[in-house]
Symmetry: C2
Subunit: 206 residues, 2 copies
Amino acid sequence: MARRPKAEGSEDRREQIIDAALRVFARKGFARATNKDIAREAGITPGLIYYYFADKEALLQAVIESRSPLRLFEHLEPAQWDAPPSEFLHAILCQALNIIESEQVISLIRTVLSELLHGEEIPLLPKLFLPRIIAVLQRYLRLQRERGMVRAEVDPEEVAQVLLSAMMGLVMRRQVLRDTSVLRYSHEELVSLVLKTLLPGLLPAS
Amino acid sequence: MARRPKAEGSEDRREQIIDAALRVFARKGFARATNKDIAREAGITPGLIYYYFADKEALLQAVIESRSPLRLFEHLEPAQWDAPPSEFLHAILCQALNIIESEQVISLIRTVLSELLHGEEIPLLPKLFLPRIIAVLQRYLRLQRERGMVRAEVDPEEVAQVLLSAMMGLVMRRQVLRDTSVLRYSHEELVSLVLKTLLPGLLPAS
DNA sequence: TCATATTAATTGACTGACCAGTTAATTTTG
DNA sequence: CAAAATTAACTGGTCAGTCAATTAATATGA
């Protein structure tokens, strides 16, 4: 096989290698993943990787940059801003959870996390995920507080931080620790669980 | 130097190697940590590691088993069971946070987490940390609910899960993501932050 | 319409470095 | 001295990365 600049047959080799690498990195970790592993997963020979990528590190960067779910988070807003807290928060947290717990994003998280754990500076990715959701939550809470739908003494930033941390902790326990006491819930149930304990502190009156 | 079965001079070589290994594993990850690294950190030559440990894997196991903070969690209870929720929860969460965010435990978490991320089954450790705290929290909440100090409709298990997940998420964001928006808080402030948004849903009346 | 030239894509064999683990020799200590 | 502790040199294997050779899609020309 050769010369397939843009033609039929297998789609873009580069993408194919990135996909294979993501799977292998997630399964074995970057350090333990060999070029042979990646090549086998992609159905090519190890040498070919260096036709498309300068070195293993560059392949990792390509994986991280091109498989980031950041674009998915752009479309996170459509939830109705006028809905009451219980509905709005449930909707937006479910959306976020569905994106994050998709197979591809979890693979990316596994890959990035273990690099992040040891020195390696990942450009700017995880610093973009959470602030995105936090900003939306914060904006909504401030709006609803003005309208009197949320207690006056609530600090939107603090609540958003706690809410997000709780969700993140749950995802960690599910996907990394494989904690059965938290794996038994569906996405909807998880969000309901969190909101059930947080909402009473948000809503006015009683 | 030789023969120091129990005598003076440097303390136990074995412990010394374990400490060095923990530091190097945390810094570079198990896969990337070389015996040379560990030996340098311990001030010995690489070969000596194999006098005390069968192989690298056995060293990792020794690190995990002997540096587990499980024993520290045994003494977690002394908090006053009769104190009101705001005091009790603040005290016990601060205790837990202080243990977990100590240098040694964070190093262990870095080490174990990256193994846990990729296939490797860690015996039974992280499955013991959290349940320990959860059990204490749950027991306390049930007790105080009977006394009417906690709302009747509160589910102790669910609240404990959410509380713990929030704390875990915060620790992750601090220690792994190095999220400045959450690093600026002291341990006490962090716990206050979480309780401020959770307590209103727990306490009766309003 | 067929041969041939051109070039991108791909292979597989190779290399130099490094690393986990071994061992024989050496030092220390009791 | 004898046992325990430690070293230094070594080994076999693996892996990231290189490269010359090969293949095949396409373009060119007659």
